[in-house]
Every structure is written in structure tokens, then in C-alpha cells.
Amino acid sequence: MWYHIFKFEIQYRIKRPDTYVFFLFLFLFSIVGVDFIFQGTDLGLMKKNSPLVVAKSMGAITGLFMILASMIMGVSVLRDFEYNIESLMFSTPIHKRDYLLGRFLGSFTVLLFVFSGIPLGMMLGELMPWIAADELLTFNGLVYLKTFLLVTLPTVFFGAALFFVTGALSRNLVVVYTQGIFLFVVFMLTKAITNEFWQAILDPFSLTTTTFITKSWTTLEKSTQDLPFIGALLYNKLFWFSLGIAALVYGYHKFNFNVVKEKRSKGKRKQISKTNINDGNEVIIPDAKKQYDLRSKWAQLKQFSWFYFMGICKQPSFWAIVICGMIIILVNSVNLGTVYGVDSYPATYFIVEELQETSIFFFIIILVFYSGELVWKERGAKLNLIYDATAMSSFIKLAGKYVGLNLIYIVLMLALISSGIIFQTLSGYYKYELHVYFYGFFLEILPFLALYTCVAFFIQSVVNHKFVGIMLVITFFIANTALGAFGFDHDLYLFGGNTIGTYSEMNGYGHFLKPYLFIKSYWLLFGILLLIIASLVSVRGIETNLVKRFKTGKYRLSKPLFKLASIVFLMVIAIGSFIFYNTNVLNDYWTASEATAFRVDYEKELKQFEYLPQPKIVDVNLKLELYPSTRDYTVEGYYILKNTNTEDIASIHIQKLLEGNITIDSLSFEGGATRDNQYKKFDYSIFNLNKVLKPGDSIKMYFKQNFMTKGFESGSSNVNINKNGTFFSNSDLPTIGYTRKYELNDPSDREDYNLPLRSNKAERENVNELVNARSGSDSDGLNFEMIIGTSKSQTALVPGELLEQWTENERNYFHYKMKIPIINFYSIVSAEYEIKKDQWMSQKDSITTPIDLEIYYHKGHDYNLDRMLSSMKASLNYFTKNFSPYQYEHLRIMEFPRYAQFAQSFPGTIPFSESIGFVLDIDDENDVDMAFYVTAHEIAHQWFGMQVEAANVKGRHFILETLSQYAAMMVLKEHYSEDKLLQFLELQNETYKKGQDREALKEPSLALVENQDYVYYAKGAIQMYQFQKAIGEENVNKALRRFLKDWNTRNGVLKTKTDRYVTSKDLLDYFKEVTPRDLQYMIPELFESVEALKIITDVKN
């Protein structure tokens, strides 16, 4: 008997179009599945069809599209109730067992068919033209099949059982969807489990499970090895499989073959039938005006919005979603703004970001499903004909539903905000910034949802098939995201426009807000047009044929609606034109491919000039006027250029920064020059000097550069020049000669354009680069002087002693000058600052002038100032004692907005991001004091970077970064303890491991490191620790002392005798000098080999 029902179920589904729509959807999605799941992550040596990658992708796709299972399994019993044939079904002599078993197995078979789209699609994905051959292992169908059976099948089975049972028991489709959210919450909760093993067992999509079981694998194993179906993976699958069985057993016992669901309503029913009857004839029906004017329509809209809103509010499943959302945040936001393993204070913007990230899935579920439910609400209740025969405007009805759904979002938002506030309170943080909450949700999330809701309503109204509509809405989501990812991201055609950008406490939403509001208005108006069209073609009456609906739609366009549509349309055109004027006329808009082509041409045409002899900047004297409120600046003054070559220089090549906002208004040379504009399109000018520059001679170059903000740009705009918190460096000013950083970097792109292989760093013996301290070095040291003016409320800072400070024309002016030459690397910073000051005196030498210590910080960010200050002092003490004296008379830290997350050392000044040290909530018991450490690291750069510069070849960062790591570690050890240092090193060890996994090419040794930060930061720290442990801290310091003495850029014993800069080879020689003979073997082992390093715990013992 069950077989008969099974067969019937399959036959029924075979005839349904949704079966194929679902299959096709999964199939097509899976073709790009791996690329989608792993977008933005570096696979390293792993291939796109490595078993581990396949397993993770399949797990994630299965998880993402679990809703399909709910749509297939949920309806299989529910259907009988929807079509009211349950009485027929249940009064036939079928057994409950046969009925349920047949239905379940039938639907499950169909579900498997649908999900088989995943492995099939993924296999086909290997053949896609954008996948390069070296991204793949040899094709092996078994991997997909096996993964499908082992990873997807048990999960799908669990989902199928859960959805089947909830559908059968609740007889309510929305409850079924809510299960999808429930599953997601479980998944998120597992992430909060700290025990990795349990996390691996409980993850329903086995993403963490696969990570867990491959933890100890080498990169090669991860790339090729089959996943073993033992241990955690096996238990995970058994766990979820048995939960599925449990759900089925429970459902079987609970399922009742009664037609009427027995519930509390029984009592009420009796009450109803008791009412006494009068014939009502004497009742006179009062007159009531019928109004169809605009005011009445407005009243209707209000009533409708409220009606549909309340309709959803009455559903327990909605509140289940709300509660899930609140819980998940309370559990999940334990780690906020974590930097180097230390959490930040739960400032509101961190909470908002966390809330946004975790709740977006909930919002999308609500959007996708409830928009379907709302469009189908009357038809679901079979009330549609009554609605349709009234004089109600279709548009008002749809608009009411639209507003109602948006009110639902608002309820969830308010719930999330209150959970955020609860979380802050529980964490003992009471600075609730309600406006930040408000903006985070009502400015960032709500417009996004409102826009996609228009699309969802439009799609549901047009296709007139609820599930197909749902899938199309999801497809639209994915397609639009993909469009952006492929570089088609202009705000005018990327649906909804781009996101607003990062909120910063220093700069608020800054200059992002205005364009954002324009672009969102443009799209919202477009959304209204969509709603109007949707209301015109939506089903009214019994005609469902789409073509006929489109034909009759025009008769529905009433005069007021036509007026509204016309006005909206004109506004879309007007605002759209305004946006276009801003993004494409006032500013340049480049698509990704245009930008690529430009880079290719730049390299092809200008590479010839790369090592052309050019003069060096020896003197910089500038006056900069910054206008923060309008985000403009002008800078004028001169460079003195000196010919340090042995031959004459007849022409000087000047590169302007490639940014549309920047113009060079004038540029002239002492003695005159003619300008050759043949490379104008690259903003590259060649000035043929009237009089050749002889070796040893100098020439003044005067220029005036203008940065002018014109309107706004599409997508992300310049985040260096801000209303509050400007930070840029001299690389924005005119530079000399070919600029290597404009070259195309991506190896496969380079291949496509027939460009030769490019390495990030030159070989250690490269004679051209040995004389450069940085890429395209324009200087070997320069004298620096600058006057900078900024708005009255701001303080402007550049390197140098502050000679004078005054106010003029309601503006603040500062005159800085460096007493000694600096490297060609200076920052320009301006913001509204609070200042913390102190002084430091060298303990070695009491006659020297005291050093001014200053921290310029944003008001309120004073949590860690004392830690930073003590780090400044401790560092200066340690470095002057062990390395060499500090070269400047000031040391400043300046906070800048968190658009970038780093601190960076410039001569005597250290711009320090808002996000990495100022708001860390450091617990001295458990955490490493990273505010202290990062400060120490940056101060170390005043030695390794400012005093000694390294040649721009492989191993450069070993000298600059690894030595700074070492120096900072020693300060940390001295100030805190060896234990804290070991804790820090454990973190480095993890970072190093992760870096190795991401490495796509061969890992270099420290001595030959290029741009691999996991090597020069993480491995460097570990190796240096072991090195000093073995040969003694004092010996290492002795080597560094000698190293600095010989290679100091300004007065190094060896440096002053040569043009070239120091390399890692030189450094290792200094190390060898201080290493006892029996430990010499360590040097190649630690610094010159790639071998897996000794685990840090060895050191501990």
C-alpha cells in the first residue's frame, strides 16, 4: 500500500514544474558554487576540486538552499489540507504508516533528485572557461559522488525529516519556513561553542567538521587527500541522521488522522453556537459615505498597512524568528572588533555591525517568504474574489502589503537593537549611542530590504506561482551580487546601489552619506515604479494568463495612478541624471575592465622608463591648505632635485597620482623646461630641461597640486581626505618616473594580456633595486619643511618639530620642520583631536633634550592612552639602551578613522587606526596588551625603517618588519613577562599556519621574503624569539647595534661609502658574528630555510 502512495507522490511531483525549477536552480548555482562559496578567500595550494573544497562547497550550498527542502518536504502532507481533500484521504482505509511512509519516501526521492543538481552542477563547473587548468586536480567524479553521499545526504535527510514532520503537524507553511531559520540559528550557535570537537559534531552543514578533521594535515594533504569518513565527520553525520530519525518517529506518533485539528478553539465554538437568534429585520443600515478621493486612499493605505502588519504579527513563527535573532546576537557577539586576539569595548558601532551581519539572513528569509505570503494572502484564504470585486485600487492594496512588511522589518530591527543594548549592559558598557543604532538599521539595512521587497513583490505578482517566485527572488539576489562581483558596479545599474561604507566614530558616515541618500532615493523611486507595474499586472479576478494580464493592465491605470507613475518616472530620470552627472561627468567612472586595460597600457608604454636615470629629491618645502569640510586641498612649494648619477640628465619624468580629483595646476623647473605630453593619458609628463642637469647639480621644481572634491563618485570614494580624520602620505604628491605599483598584479590577468611574469620583489642581487630603499625611490633622504593650514577645529600634523602655530582667517596654521634629513616618507594628518602629552628623557644621557611624547586622539577614545604612553617610554628606553639613540625630538601618535586597520610609522609620527588600539578592552589577566605591543612595534620602526633602510629586494621586510617584531617583543617581555610573550607567540603561530594554508605559491624563507606577511610578521617573531633564546638577547642586540651603526642611512659607517642599501644577507652576517660556533647551524635553519619550524611549545618546556 505504501508503495502505491509513494508512486502517486512521485507521479504528482513529476508533473509539477517546480520540481524542475528547483533542480535547475541548484544545478545552475552549483556550476559557480565553488567560486561563490570561496569568493574572496585564497585557496592557496588547494584546488577547486580538492576533496576538502568540494566538501565545504557542497556543505555550504546544501545549507544555503535548505529552504528548498522545506518547500518540497513541508508541503507533502500540508498539500492535502490546502486543497481540502484531507477528509477524502483520511477516510480511506489507508494506514497512517503507509500514508506517511509513502509520502515521505516519495517526497524525499524527489528531494534527492533536486539536490543531485549540486554534484552535477559542480562537475560541470570544472569545465567553465574561467577556471584555469592549474586550479584543478584531474577530474574525479567519485569525489563528488562520495561527498554527496557522505556530506549532503545525511544533512538533507535530517532537513527532510524535520520539514516533513513540522509540515504535517503544524499544517502551516510559514512554520515550515521558520524551521530553516531554526537550523541556521543552530549553525550559528555551534560557532559559539569553544570546544572544537563538539563544534565539529554539532555543525549541521559540517563546515567546521571538515576544518576540524583536517587541522593537522599538511597543505599538500589538504589539496589532494580524500576526506576520511571516520571520527568527527562520522559522528557528526550519525548525530544528524539520528536526529532525523527521531524527528520522524516523533512525527509518526504525533500525527493524527483526524481532519479537525483539536485545539483550544473547542470552547469558543460551543460559545458561538449558543448565541440567541433574532431576525434582524428591524435593524436599519445607516448611510455611510463612500469616498474615493486621495485622502480616502491615504486612509486606506494606513489601514491596510496596519492590517497586513498585524496579520504577520499574529504568527508565532514571526516571533520565533525575532527571538532567534535576539538570542543569536547575545550568544554570538562575544567577540567584537577583535584585533590580535583581543576584543574591543562593545561600542555601539561594533554591536551594530555584528547585528547586521548575523541578522541579514533572518531579514532575507522574512523578505523572501513573507513577500510571497502577502502577495498570495487573499488567494490563500480564498477571499480574493471578494477583494477583487471592490473598488479598491490594486496599487493601494499592494502598497499596503508593502508598508506592512516594512513595518515587520522595523519590529525585528527594534528587537535587535534592544538585544544589542541588553548585551552592552550585560558587558558593563553604558554608552548607548541610539543614533548609531538608528543609522545602522534604518539608514543601512532598511533601504536595502525595502528595495528588494519591491523586487520580490514585482516578481511574485508577475510570475503568479509562489514557489517559483521565491526561487526567482533568490536568483535575483545572487545575480545582482554576482554582477557587482564581476565589476559591473555602477550605482545606476547595480540594483540598489552600493553600500554606504564604514561608520567611523571619528568621521561618522562622512562624505558617504549624501551620495548614498541620492542613490537610494533613485532606487526607491524605481522600486515604486516596479510596485505600480506589479499592481497593474497582478491577478485580479480569474484571469491568470500573463500576456492577457499585461494587455488588460493598461485599463487598470487610473488617472491618479498614472499621475503618480509619471511623477515618479520623471523623478527617477531627474535623480538618475543628477547621479550620472556626478559620477560620470564630474568624476570618472571606470569599469574593472577599463581599469585593467589602462594598467596594461601603462606598463607596455612606460616600462621602458623604469630605471631611467633621474634626479633624487633632497629637499621638500611645501605649503598645504586643507579644507576638511569641502574635502579639498591645495599644496604648493618646491622640491630640490639633485642629480646623483654619473651622467647628465636632460629630461625629468613626473607622474601625477592617478586620481581624478587631483590636478597639477602648475609645474615648472628652475631654468625652464618644455613639456612633452605624449603620455598625458597616464598623467605622466616628460619635462625636457632647457639646461641639462650635470652630475652633482641641483634644480628646483616648483609645483602646485590641487585636490578638489567634485560631486560624488560611484561606489567607494576616496577615504583619505575626510571631513574629520584626513590621512594621506607623500605618495599622493607628484613622483618621479615610472610607478611600478600601477602594474597589473594578478598572474592570470597578466597572462591574458601577454605580460611577462611579475615578481613582487626583485632578486637580492638586482643592481637596479639595490640602490632603491623603496619601489621607484625618488630620494635617498631629504630635508623637510611644511606649513599646513586646516580648519579652526582641527589640528594638522606632519613630521617635524613644530616651529610655530598661529590662527589666521579662522584657520589653524602649523609650521613644521625636520632638523635632520628624513626618508622620503611623510604623512599628512588633520582631525579634531584631544591631546595627551608627556615627556621622556634618555636614561643614558641626561644632557640631551627631552623628547615630547604626544597622543592625538578622538574624544572618548581614552581607554588605552596610558598603555600606549607607557609603551612609548618603555620602547624608547629599551631601544636607546640597546640599539642607538632616538633621532628626533618628538614622538607622536595620531588616531585616524578606521577605514584602514593599521598603524604606520613615519619619521617621528605614527598614524594609528581608530580600530586597532584605541578601543581595545584589554584584560591584563587573559589578554596580551596589544595596544602596548603595536605601539612598541611602530616605535621600533623609528630604528628599522627610519634609521636604517633596506634595499627594495627580497628580504626587505625581514629587516624592517621582523626586526621591529623582535624589538617590540623584547619590550613586551621586559615590561610584562616571558609568559605574556609566549602567549603572543602562540597567536603568531596560528597566524603563520593560516598564512601557509592561503599561500598559493611557494613559501619563501625569511631571508628572501617578499610580501608574505605571515612570514615576516608571524614566522619572523617566532624565529627571532628562538634565536635570542639560543644565543642570548644581549648578543642579538649587540648584532643589531653594529648593524645600525654601519647601515644608518644618514651616517652609517658602511652606508656612507656605498649607494646600495642593506640586504638580509648583510644582516645575517651580523647575526653570525655574535653566534657561538656550535650554534651557527641555527642561522640557515631559522632564517634561510622554509622548513617547518619547531613548534613554539618546545621553547616553553
Binding site: S265, K268, R269, Q271, I272, S273, T275, N276, I277, N278, D279, G280, N281, V283, I284, I285, P286, D287, A288, K289, K290, Q291, Y292, R295, S296, A299, Q300, Q303, F304, F307, G311, K314, A381, K382, L383, L385, I386, Y387, D388, A389, T390, A391, M392, R540, G541, I542, E543, N545, K548, T552, Y555, S558
Partner: protein, 295 residues
């Protein structure tokens, strides 16, 4: 004000001719539209109720061209479809209020009074706070008429409203309807002859998409006077009688078939003359119509 239907035709995509040149003039008062299942009644009703397009023909209510000026018609239309559901989780009062807004009654106090009056009228006032989920078929139908009356309709269309109601509920429903005929064009479609007999001043019989008879029920009965005969027979004789007489209906009476035949002269042979009922009219028309078609 009259509803004038002129030459209305509709053929569905699957070839079924649901309406063929239907022409009717419907004055104020109750109008019964009789016809067997599938005769085209609902198609006609839905077309008048602006829920469906016709292929050709016109429908006019006074000055309103129903097929073109849909919204104008909807303003004066009350419609109770053959089948409808209700939102289970809200009360009659809330839903009726919602429908009142839907129909343009946006003045709050007027709306409140109106809803209250209609709930009284349809005898739902005592249960107005209950969720509609618990409503019986009769209560549901009364709620249906309450919503149809909200906008004080000039044209009221009720499609098979008494199907599935018990006799008590049916009577109660008729009481509500019967009052309306004075100012309103009420079209009542049904396949239950008694509904028409009890309520309607005018009627039409429709079968296979065509109008086969229209007029005043009493006049129509007059035409059959002295033409309908009745006889109780054995089951085995049924086919014999069907071949030799115009058998317009057969019913079981105490287990034996009782046939009604149509005859201009007295057939004798055990037949007795009876007073024609509206039912006989109905069956005879269906009989004639089907026969003429099949020939």
C-alpha cells in the same frame, strides 16, 4: 436602474462555450438565475462582477458600461462568490471593518456604526469578537452577505449562497436578502428551484451557456398549466416511458420512480394532471433545451 446584458459570449481556452449570446434585462428586485451545474451561471456572474473578461457583448448598469468602467461598477457592486474563505485568526468585526475601508468607507465613526448595524442585521453581533475560524457554514455565509452590503450596493450578486446550508440557516439568509430587492438589482444564482420560487420576482433559466427561458415565475407557471402529468411506475418501465413521453423529471417516491411528463393532451394511461411547480418548468426547459441541442 436596470442591468442590461446584451449578446454576451465567452469561450474558454479549452473550447468550452461558457456563454453564448446571452441577453437579459434585469430590473430592480430579486432575479433568480437557475441552471444546472456547469451551465455558465458562475461565468456570467463573474463577468458582471468585473472579475472576468467577455469575448463579446456588453453589460450595462444604468450609465455604467460594466466591461469597461470596471471601477465605477465596483463602487456600487456587492458580490458574494460561490466559494470563499475567511482569515481564520481575526474576528468578524475586524474583518468587516477592513472590508469597509476597502470599499471606501473611510470616515471612522460612520464606518463603526455601519459595521455595527450590519453585524446586527446578519445576527453576528454577539459573536463579533470571535475568531472567524470557529464560524459555521451559515454564519460564514451571513458574514459574506454583510460584507457585500457594506457599500450599499445598487447591484448585488450572490452566487449559489445557500449551497450546504441547513433549512434554518437558509431561511435566515433569505430574510436578509429579501429586504434588499426594493432598491437594488439582486442576482441570485442557484440550482435550487425553491430558492427562486420563494424569493424572486424575475428569473431566467440558463443551460449550456444559453438562456432558455426568462420571465416572471408566476407567468411561466401559467404557461404550463394543464400540461404536466404525473405517474408512479416500476423501475423496469422507465425506459419505455422515456421513449414514448416527454419525461421531464423522475424522482423516487417511497422507493418507486415517479415521473412527470409534459403533454398538451391528457395521456390517460394512469397519468394524473398536477399543478405545475417551478421545478417542472425548470426540468422541462432543461429537457427541451438538451433535446434540441442533441438533434
Amino acid at each position: 436602474m436596470k442591468l442590461i446584458i446584451d449578446n454576451l459570449s465567452k469561450t474558454y481556452a479549452n473550447g468550452i462555450e461558457a456563454l453564448q449570446n446571452v441577453s437579459l434585462e434585469i430590473p430592480k428586485g430579486m432575479f433568480g438565475l437557475l441552471g444546472p451545474n456547469g451551465a455558465g451561471k458562475s461565468t456570467l456572474m463573474r463577468t458582471i462582477a468585473t472579475l472576468q473578461e467577455a469575448d463579446s457583448g456588453t453589460v450595462a448598469l444604468g450609465d455604467i458600461n460594466v466591461l469597461k468602467q470596471k471601477n465605477e461598477l465596483r463602487q456600487v457592486l456587492g458580490y458574494l462568490p460561490q466559494q470563499f474563505g475567511l482569515y481564520p485568526k481575526i474576528s468578524a468585526e475586524v474583518l468587516l471593518n477592513h472590508f469597509a475601508v476597502l470599499k471606501g468607507i473611510t470616515n471612522k465613526s460612520e464606518r463603526k456604526n455601519l459595521v455595527k448595524a450590519l453585524l446586527h442585521k446578519t445576527n453576528l453581533y454577539d459573536v463579533r469578537k470571535q475568531n472567524l475560524k470557529g464560524y459555521s457554514g451559515g454564519m460564514k455565509q451571513r458574514f459574506g452577505i454583510a460584507q457585500a452590503l457594506l457599500n450599499n450596493p445598487k447591484l448585488l450578486i450572490v452566487d449559489e449562497p445557500t449551497a450546504g446550508l441547513d433549512p434554518v440557516e437558509r431561511n435566515r439568509f433569505y430574510n436578509v436578502l429579501s429586504e434588499l430587492g426594493e432598491h437594488t438589482v439582486v442576482i441570485l444564482s442557484t440550482h435550487i428551484v425553491d430558492d427562486v420560487k420563494e424569493l424572486c420576482t424575475n428569473m431566467a433559466i440558463i443551460n449550456q451557456g444559453q438562456v432558455c427561458l426568462k420571465g416572471n415565475p408566476l407567468q411561466i407557471l401559467e404557461e404550463l398549466k394543464g400540461k404536466v402529468y404525473k405517474k408512479t411506475i416500476e423501475k423496469s418501465e422507465l425506459s419505455f416511458y422515456k421513449q414514448n413521453y416527454k419525461v421531464i423529471s423522475e424522482k423516487l417516491f417511497l422507493g418507486k420512480p415517479t415521473i412527470h411528463i409534459l403533454s398538451d393532451v391528457n395521456p390517460r394511461d394512469g397519468f394524473t394532471l398536477i399543478n405545475a411547480e417551478l421545478e417542472d418548468v425548470y426540468f422541462s426547459e432543461i429537457f427541451n433545451h438538451s433535446n434540441s441541442k442533441s438533434i
